[in-house]
């Protein structure tokens, strides 16, 4: 009966918008939406992640038109894509490398959230949805890695599905159910393809929820203090759109270096050997973006214990908003916590190296200490430091903080404090 009172003048847009106010919604969320005026380039990585998700879905749909999910044909169909399909090499290398660059962007995005306390009240839901997104990404990445049906594909599928066999009683039936047989075989490949096609769209759905929750609270910023008035914020368009587009360009240049000059740099040569269920490659390692988790898995000298530790390492992120007891969000004002944060970053990188190397000698010790610090950071340091550490005084407002250096109101970007660029 009643139409939505659209304020758009164009008759066609007005006709649509008054029946389905999607144009008003987009205008509100992506043009007028108020962003803190002091956000730095680390705030571009969510948008970069979105860009890469789009690239993954686009290239993935084209690849699915050429790929065959059958153990007898999969490997050859990937080679067919590489050699015969028009621009098949480009689509496949884009898909493979964009996967890694998607993870890279999301890792920066996650660590940015950790540093500036973006998970704290009132943004807990955004964070929880983010951890869920990360889990979906890991599942999708793993499933996709199996599809070329090379040696690493096959043995990654075997090792990862076997993790579930660690659980007593239910473990083995679960593994048989996942495989659809008594080993990783054709039914497994077939369903992995179906799920690899499905999950990115689930991911996209959760991204929409992630952004919807973000638009309730608004974005955090390097100072971690709220917007107190119009002088503290700028509209999303053109300020953030142009900044994000510039960040896209820089990131895509880096991506292109890998895509066009070393497309197999992050891959593993063994995956160009067709899958052989009777021979395990001498050295099995996951892709770089899973290495820290792999190190935690191997740090515990017990099958069930290692599996539980690895799952716990990811799941602990869900409760992070309640583990950090600090009332101040940004680590800019918490030097001691900041130091522990950078140790944590180093710890994750060290765990990555542990995961890449054979579990012998120094690497076993390093991965155990690394695992200890990983859990210690979340379960001991953050709860304790939040209570103990006296944060430095917070500025009264965002505008006061960025304008006190004598910069003019019009050149807001040039007056950012050096530490905000961390």
């Amino acid at each position: 009966m009643a139409l939505y009172p659209s304020k758009f003048k164009n008759p066609l847009i007005n006709w649509i918008d008054s029946r389905l106010p999607i144009v008003t919604l987009m205008h509100h969320e992506y043009i007028e939406f108020q962003m803190p005026r002091n956000i730095n380039y680390l705030w571009a990585f969510g948008a970069i992640g979105m860009l890469l998700l789009m690239l993954m879905i686009g290239t993935g749909i084209m690849l699915a038109m050429q790929y065959t999910p059958n153990t007898g044909l999969a490997f050859a169909s990937v080679e067919h894509i590489m050699r015969d399909v028009n621009f098949g090499w480009l689509l496949r290398y884009m898909h493979a490398n964009a996967g890694a660059f998607f993870f890279l962007a999301i890792y920066v995005h996650i660590f940015r959230g950790l540093y500036y306390g973006s998970y704290q009240k009132p943004r807990e839901m955004i964070w929880i949805l983010g951890v869920l997104l990360y889990l979906l990404m890991m599942a999708t990445g793993f499933l996709g890695y199996v599809l070329p049906w090379g040696q690493m594909s096959f043995w990654a599928a075997t090792v990862i599905t076997n993790l579930f066999s660690a659980f007593p009683v239910v473990g083995d039936p679960i593994v048989t159910w996942l495989w659809g047989g008594f080993s990783v075989d054709n039914p497994t490949l077939n369903r992995f393809f179906a799920l690899h096609y499905l999950l990115p769209f689930v991911l996209l759905g959760v991204v929409i929820l992630h952004v919807a929750a973000l638009h309730i609270t608004g974005s955090n910023n390097p100072l971690g203090i709220d917007i107190k008035g119009p002088q503290d914020s700028v509209p999303f368009h053109p300020y953030v759109t142009i900044k994000d587009i510039f960040a896209f360009c820089v990131y895509l240049i880096l991506f292109s270096v890998f895509l066009f000059f070393m497309p197999n740099y992050m891959g593993h040569p063994d995956n160009y050997i067709p899958a052989n269920p009777l021979v395990t490659p001498a050295h099995i390692v996951p892709e770089w973006y899973f290495l820290p988790w792999y190190a935690i898995l191997r740090a515990i000298p017990d099958k069930l214990g290692g599996t539980l530790a690895m799952f716990a390492a990811v799941l602990v992120l869900f409760v992070l908003p309640w583990l950090d007891t600090s009332k101040v969000k940004s680590m800019v004002f918490k030097p001691l916590t900041r130091f522990c944060f950078w140790l944590f970053v180093a710890d994750c990188i060290i765990l990555g190296f542990c995961g890449a190397n054979n579990p012998e000698g120094i690497w076993v010790i390093a991965s155990r200490l690394g695992t200890l610090y990983y859990f210690g950071y979340f379960l001991v340091l953050l709860p304790l430091l939040g209570k103990i550490e006296q944060p430095k005084p917070l500025p009264a407002s965002i505008s006061e903080s960025i304008l006190k250096g004598g910069g003019s109101v019009h050149a807001h970007g040039a007056t950012a404090q050096p530490m905000e660029k961390a």
Binding site: W155, V159, N162, T176, W179, G180, P277, L278, R298, E360
Partner: protein, 190 residues
């Protein structure tokens, strides 16, 4: 569900009191229960469709001619998509397998419980840790392990000449499939 208070709507009849509210709650509960049971019953075919299909289950047994396997050698055959090791053990290897004390083992099992004929050791060739295929580490090999059995390249589990786990992260001995000797030189696995 039943704890939600339902305000009386515009269409509520006069005299709609507590008695009717509890009857309505009962209807809500009953509807939800029937719905949940229906969804649950329908979910099972979806879930079970992912379990092994009839043709996968049909590949239940194979027959292998083992006449050509000399002492000290092993052959690998595929059964249900999995590698199966058939090892012709030498008298030394049998002696080594039989002389291990239970306290030296992680998953204690006498050798006699793992073989039908001591010279033939038949095992599922999948490491009980995370499912890799252990390398044959018997005579004339590079002796990666200390127990002359198998060595898993993934995480370093070592098995002895009875396929029992002796060192490394694997929790259990290599599995023994169901098998029967049809003739002296033909074995049926499965």
């Amino acid at each position: 569900m039943s704890t939600i208070a339902h305000p009386s709507g515009a269409g509520t009849a006069p005299g709609d009191g507590g008695g009717d509210a509890s009857r309505r709650n009962f209807l809500y509960l009953a509807t939800t229960a029937v719905g949940a049971a229906g969804v649950g019953a329908l979910a099972w075919p979806f879930i079970d469709s992912m379990n092994p299909a009839a043709d996968t289950l049909a590949l239940a047994s194979i027959e292998v001619d083992i006449a050509s396997v000399k002492p000290g050698e092993q052959i690998v055959v595929t059964w249900q998509g999995k590698p199966v090791f058939i090892r012709h053990r030498t008298p030394d290897e049998i002696k080594a397998a039989e002389s291990v004390k239970p306290e030296e083992m992680k998953d204690p099992q006498p050798d006699s419980a793992r073989v039908q004929k001591p010279e033939w050791l038949i095992l599922i060739g999948i490491c009980t840790h995370l499912g890799c295929v252990p390398n044959f580490d018997g005579q004339n090999s590079s002796h990666l392990g200390q127990f002359n059995g198998w060595f898993c390249p993934c995480h370093g589990s070592q098995y002895d000449t009875s396929g029992r786990i002796r060192k490394g992260p694997a929790p259990k001995n290599l599995g023994v499939p169901k098998y029967a000797f049809l003739k002296d030189t033909v074995v049926k696995i499965g």
